[in-house]
């Protein structure tokens, strides 16, 4: 396969500006610096660029918010926010709104990263396994931290040993199963996102290397769809894991009637 790496001028520009600083920091930490080529890898440069872009966009939108005369952009963003808050209330429960910062940020960032694979001057940072593994580990640490904070470490660990309603002697069987399923959540989150985005990009590349004229276009359309869908699924699974971690036994089955795409399916989602 010919080389998949492609030199982007944004990455080159960021490396010209910040490359020497990054090289100096790396040398001070004792790690070796590549002599030729970019010090800052392309996915890191693009994700930092996207973060700065999204922050600037949010600040600009925030300065133009108005209650009595909202523009189209504000209405669309408020719809998206309402949808996200509705999902949080359904899946996590009444205390779900406090998790909006991380869940919303992950959703918007992953969506922007996935879509920038389709933009000519950028690449998708989520097509590199490091980025998706970072997102998955963040989610893992976050939901365990909040589970322990909500329920206390004793009750939280007891959930691992015996799910609510089950006797205590099945703990030796349940404990390895629960541990493996929680570790496999990290793997499945990261591999799903990485596989979808990298695979999509690879298929477009191979098709374009055979017939570059019109044939890659349906795959690019499919790429737009799966970019949005994968960001949505990442966020939905984060909410399901959060819901499973912070729900305590007394209102564990209060919600689950009505519209809850995840709560009823929570035992089945243990991949």
């Amino acid at each position: 396969m010919e080389k998949l790496h492609h030199e982007l001028w944004i990455v080159h520009a960021i490396n010209i500006i910040f490359g020497p600083i990054a090289a100096a920091i790396l040398r001070a930490l004792g790690r070796d610096v590549p002599a030729h080529g970019d010090v800052i890898p392309d996915y890191l440069a693009i994700i930092i660029f996207l973060t700065i872009l999204l922050t600037a966009f949010s600040l600009v939108v925030r300065s133009r918010l108005s209650v009595e005369n909202p523009g189209k952009l504000q209405i669309v963003l408020e719809d998206a926010l309402t949808g996200l808050l509705g999902m949080l209330d359904d899946i996590v429960g009444p205390k779900g709104r406090r998790y909006l910062p991380l869940v919303g940020t992950l959703g918007v960032l992953i969506w922007a990263c996935n879509l920038s694979g389709m933009v000519p001057g950028l690449m998708a940072p989520t097509s590199n396994y490091n980025v998706t593994l970072g997102c998955a580990i963040t989610v893992f640490v976050y939901y365990h931290y909040h589970g322990i904070k909500e329920q206390g470490i004793g009750a939280y660990l007891k959930h691992f040993a015996a799910p609510p309603g089950a006797p205590l002697w099945i703990a030796p069987i349940m404990l390895p199963i629960e541990l493996i399923s929680h570790v496999s959540r990290v793997l499945s989150l990261s591999l799903r996102l990485f596989g979808n985005i990298f695979g999509e990009e690879l298929v477009i590349l191979i098709l374009a290397s055979i017939i570059p004229f019109v044939v890659p276009l349906p795959m690019m359309l499919l790429g737009l769809l799966t970019s949005t869908l994968q960001a949505l699924i990442f966020v939905m699974l984060t909410m399901i894991y959060l819901g499973g971690a912070v729900q305590s036994e007394d209102h564990g089955d209060e919600h689950g009637h009505g519209h809850a795409p995840g709560v009823a399916a929570q035992p089945a989602v243990q991949l």
Binding site: M1, R192, G195, F198, G199, L232, I233, V269, L271
Partner: protein
Amino acid sequence: MSTRSILTATLALVALGLVSPVYAQETAAATGATVAQWSIITAGFALAFAAGLAALAQGRAVSAAVESIARNPSAAGDIRGNLLLGLVLIESLAIYVLLISLILFFLKPFTA
């Protein structure tokens, strides 16, 4: 033991005895292909199986979802949410096989 079961057991033993020399001939002919080439063929077959089985499973999910929307159109939003979640989870199993195939194809861990 009846005559029939003794006959079946004897036939099975003879068949087992006959199969092994044929196997030895096949492996003697097949040592021309290296592990690297077999790994690529394996990757292709694994992906075919994964894609076919995932398609079957997703077809069942979609058919059940569409049928339940037809039976209860007011629950269409909830059913659609569950359907999407289920489809993506099934598809992610095929994606795992794709990743192994990609590793076998491009990283080529078995070449000398």
